[in-house]
Each structure stands twice: as structure tokens, then as C-alpha cells.
Symmetry: C2
Subunit: 301 residues, 2 copies
């Protein structure tokens, strides 16, 4: 069994990040909007791999910064990612009942509260960045701009919109090719993964060349992540993944294995990972992030 | 007929704010996520009174700032307000077919795209503030924090959650009183109206006392606005309002006229307006905003 090289980082992170074990969320419980708070917390503490926080904090370390300084970015990224899962799971989107091994937010709290939980987490992400006090105002403003671009209509939200359109197309008997699939993923999942590394760079005060290297490595890792996700959807069980698998084809979703074959998809995954590693090797302290990139490409869940 | 004293300001604003007539939205059309962009623009250009932008820009002028400097705040506020309408109109929330005299977003683009249009506008609001270049980084960060607090789970989103809960309660034969009603409105509509004035103050570099006066006046105007909305719902026609009226009671919503009677609600409206005016009179140039507060309290649509 391969040990996740970020397990220690994530455990440090969860200790440093009380928001992920409920303590930071304390005001939610005492606040005026308690059902909403409960619903936000439900999806936040449901776990997951914390991919974006890990990427962000390891990226900060790549350029000699401290992971702790990147903590508000890690929190904001996980808020954004969690909100996107809540909204994607809604009946009007992917209509999923299971997420991270538990009933999806709207199955527990109802559709209305689930939409609001997503809206609340999305808004809170930007408030957290704006009030990240050890960072300078210039740095915080830059972080809001990077996250706003990556998570918004020209990034993640735009990708989800294209994905919905693509499903409508295939449901009507049409199809689309590799270019459109790559555009969907570059926006839907790639933009936020790229931003995870870039925000780590910004928080750590990276120089422009380092920031560009981390941003580009993030794009390659985002592609690798998505190909691996498609491969796992085809070859894993529900139990391993904690969600319904093998659902892409049933729903008419087009995947990398469908377009490239299993072996072709595995080759593309290896190439994207190698490209990320080459970029990371130009940085002062890339070891842990490179180890993690390899681990992610070999994960089985 | 009373002439809206902010009509000139709003017309200047629409001229200065090309985003509201489609030009600023040009990249949406050329962008990769075109259906999403169309759906975001659809609700943005549908009109409305532009209450929050007007409040924000007049507030900046109250303390000697220029309305133009407050423009990015006005844009961000209208994005947030528009997203909240799109999400509130969804079947899982208020389930409305008509808004600003036109079919609601989800009736035109479908529920999935409507949820995403809201997410896109919400995210874009913060990106616009973060990149509002004539303002200092300190100022922009403060604006993101104020808007994040007002629009989020302890503000607008929290209020909408309480409102949904309240409807569930009344649907089950229960009821609630004035305290809960005021809490809903203080959060659901009041927080963003208060933030509109506060953001104008921040953009204009107001001193702490001026900022507090504008913030408190915003709270009073928010209350007045909501009471007037309830009164209009009871006494107007669909045609005057551009949306379904007299729907609150049918849906079991509790309103100020229900709790205070028509005359009591009118008295409360006059009191809240007077309180706002008293606060505004402490500022250097309050004339236009005071005139507008009176106009809003007397509006018939």
C-alpha cells in the first residue's frame, strides 16, 4: 500500500485549520442562521482529500514560504470547492444522492437550504481572504482577484455551464470531441487547481517566474487529476470512491478513456504528471509537492 | 406624479456603468461560456430600480466623495442583488415565474444554468472589487470584507435561510412574531442595503463617525424599504410592480401590515425614514440622499 506523502501535511493542516473539525465553525452554531450553518458545516466536515488546500500549502513551501501563511487561502479554496460540490449535486445539475460516502447536502437539508449553503460558503471564501490579517492588503487583494477569476464565469462556473450543455447535447444524440472535453475540464476543475498553486505562490511572496511555474504546473496537475478521475470512474467500485462510479457513461458524459482508450488515457496522465514535475523542479523546495503529484497519479480512490 | 430625485443620478450611472447596458458585458459574449454569460446578462439588464448602486453612490457624495469612485462598489452590489433574485426565484425557494416584468431566469435558461448564473455574478462581484484600480489595496480589501459580511451567511444568505424556515413553520400551521420578522429582514434585505451606504463611505474615504452614521442610516432605510415593500404587496397591482403581488399572504408569509395593521405599518415606515434622515443630516452633503429616502418611502412601485 502506498502512503499518501501529504498525509502528514494534511494532518498538520487539520490541526492548524480548526475550521475543518468544527471549532473554527463555532460561531456558526451560536449565530443567527443556525440551520444554514449546520448545512454549511455538514458538507465541509464530510472530509474529502483536501486536494486544493494541500496543493496550496505545498506550493507555498516550494518557494520557501510557510504553509501556515497560506492557511487562509487553503480555507478559502476548500470553501469554494465544497460549495461547488453542493451545487453540482443538486437535482437540476448532476442529481447525486451520495458524496464523500454520505447523503448529499440537499438530501439532508432540502434543495433550498443546499443552494443557500453553497452561496454562504462561496461568499465566506472571499471574506476569509479579505480578512487574512498577517498578509498585506496588496497580497489579499491579489488573492481575491486570482480566486475570483478562477472560480467564476470564466473559470469553474463557466466549465460547469459547458458541462451541462454538453450533457444536453449527448442526451439529444449528439457528441463532442477532445477539444471541448479539455475546455470543460480546464475550466471546471483545472482553473481552481491552478489557482490553488498560484495562491500558494502569492501568499508566499513568490517572484513572477516562480509564480508562473507554479501556475503552469497547476494546470498540468489539474489535467492529470481529471484523467485519473475518469479512469477511476471506469475501474473502481462505489465503495472505494465513496460515491456512485461508472455513472459517466450511463449519463452520456464523455470521458478521457472513451476518447483515448484506457491505455491512451493512462499515457496522457503520465505525460501531464511529467510536465508538472519538470516545472516544479525549477523551484527551490519542490520535493514534497512532486512526491504528492506522483501519489495522486497513482491513487486508487 | 412625483419625480424620482435619483433619476438623474441613475441615468448618469447607467451611462458611467456600461455593464448595465451590455457594453461592459462584451467579454461575456466573446467568452468561452456564452450561454452562462447570456443568462447572467439577461437578469442584469432586466432593469430594476438600482436601489443599491444609487444608495452607494449618493452615500459617497454625502461625505464629499465622487460617485464615480464608488462605481465598482455599485457594480458589485448590483451583481450581488441580481444573483440573490435569481436564486430566490428558483422553484426550491420562492418559485416565481415573473421578475421585473419578465420571465425569471430559470424559466428562460433552465434551473441548472440559473443556479450557475447566480454563482457567476456572486463571484464576479468580489473580483470587480479586488480589481477596482483607482482605489487603494487597503480600501479594496475593506470593501470585500464589508460586502462578504453583509452578503454571506451572517447577512443576506442567512436571512433567506430564516425566511425559508419561517415559511415551513407557517405552512405547518405555526406562526412567528415581530422579532423574528425583523431579524429576517435585517439580514435578508437590510444587511445589503446597509452595506451599500457603508461601501460608499469606505470608497469615499469617510472618517469613522461618518461611516457609522451612513451605516446606521442604511439600516433604517433598509427597514423602511421592507415595510414599504410589504405595503405595496398588499395595495398594488401586478402591472404596477412588474411581479406577482398580494402573494405574501397566499404563501403564508408574515408581513408588517399583518402584524401592525396598514396604519401601524405606515407609521413604522415614517419613523424609520425620519431616523435615517436625522442621521444623514449630520453629514456634509446629504441633500440628494435625503430627497431619495423620502421618494422611496412614497413610491408606488
Amino acid at each position: 500500500m502506498i502512503i499518501d506523502p501529504a498525509a502528514q501535511v494534511r494532518s498538520d493542516l487539520d490541526r492548524l485549520l480548526p475550521c475543518f473539525d468544527g471549532v473554527y465553525l463555532e460561531p456558526f452554531a451560536a449565530g443567527e442562521a443556525s440551520l444554514l450553518a449546520e448545512s454549511m458545516r455538514y458538507s465541509l466536515v464530510a472530509g474529502g482529500k483536501r486536494v486544493r488546500p494541500v496543493l496550496c500549502m505545498l506550493a507555498a513551501e516550494c518557494v520557501g514560504g510557510s504553509a501556515e501563511l497560506a492557511l487562509p487561502c487553503a480555507v478559502a479554496l476548500e470553501y469554494i470547492h465544497t460549495y461547488s460540490l453542493i451545487h453540482d449535486d443538486l437535482p437540476a445539475m448532476d442529481d447525486d444522492d451520495l458524496r464523500r460516502g454520505q447523503p448529499t447536502n440537499h438530501r439532508v437539508f432540502g434543495e433550498g437550504q443546499a443552494i443557500l449553503a453553497g452561496d454562504g460558503l462561496l461568499t465566506e471564501a472571499f471574506r476569509v481572504l479579505a480578512t487574512a490579517s498577517p498578509l498585506s492588503a496588496e497580497c489579499r487583494v491579489e488573492l481575491v482577484a486570482v480566486l475570483g477569476e478562477a472560480a467564476g464565469w470564466r473559470g469553474m462556473v463557466g466549465g460547469q455551464s459547458l458541462d451541462l450543455e454538453g450533457e444536453k447535447l449527448t442526451a439529444a444524440g449528439g457528441s463532442y470531441g477532445l477539444d471541448y472535453l479539455q475546455l470543460i475540464h480546464r475550466l471546471k476543475t483545472g482553473a481552481l487547481l491552478r489557482a490553488s498553486l498560484e495562491m500558494g505562490a502569492v501568499a508566499a511572496g513568490a517572484d513572477p517566474a516562480q509564480r508562473r511555474a507554479l501556475r503552469d504546473a497547476g494546470a498540468a496537475m489539474g489535467l492529470a487529476f481529471q484523467i485519473q478521475d475518469d479512469l477511476l470512474d471506469e475501474t473502481s467500485t462505489d465503495e472505494q470512491m465513496g460515491k456512485r462510479v461508472n455513472k459517466d457513461q450511463g449519463r452520456g458524459k464523455i470521458t478521457y478513456p472513451m476518447l483515448l482508450g484506457l491505455d491512451g488515457a493512462r499515457r496522457a496522465l503520465a505525460e501531464a504528471t511529467a510536465q508538472a514535475v519538470t516545472l516544479l523542479e525549477t523551484l527551490p523546495h519542490p520535493g514534497p509537492l512532486i512526491a504528492w503529484a506522483h501519489f495522486m497519479a497513482e491513487r486508487t480512490s
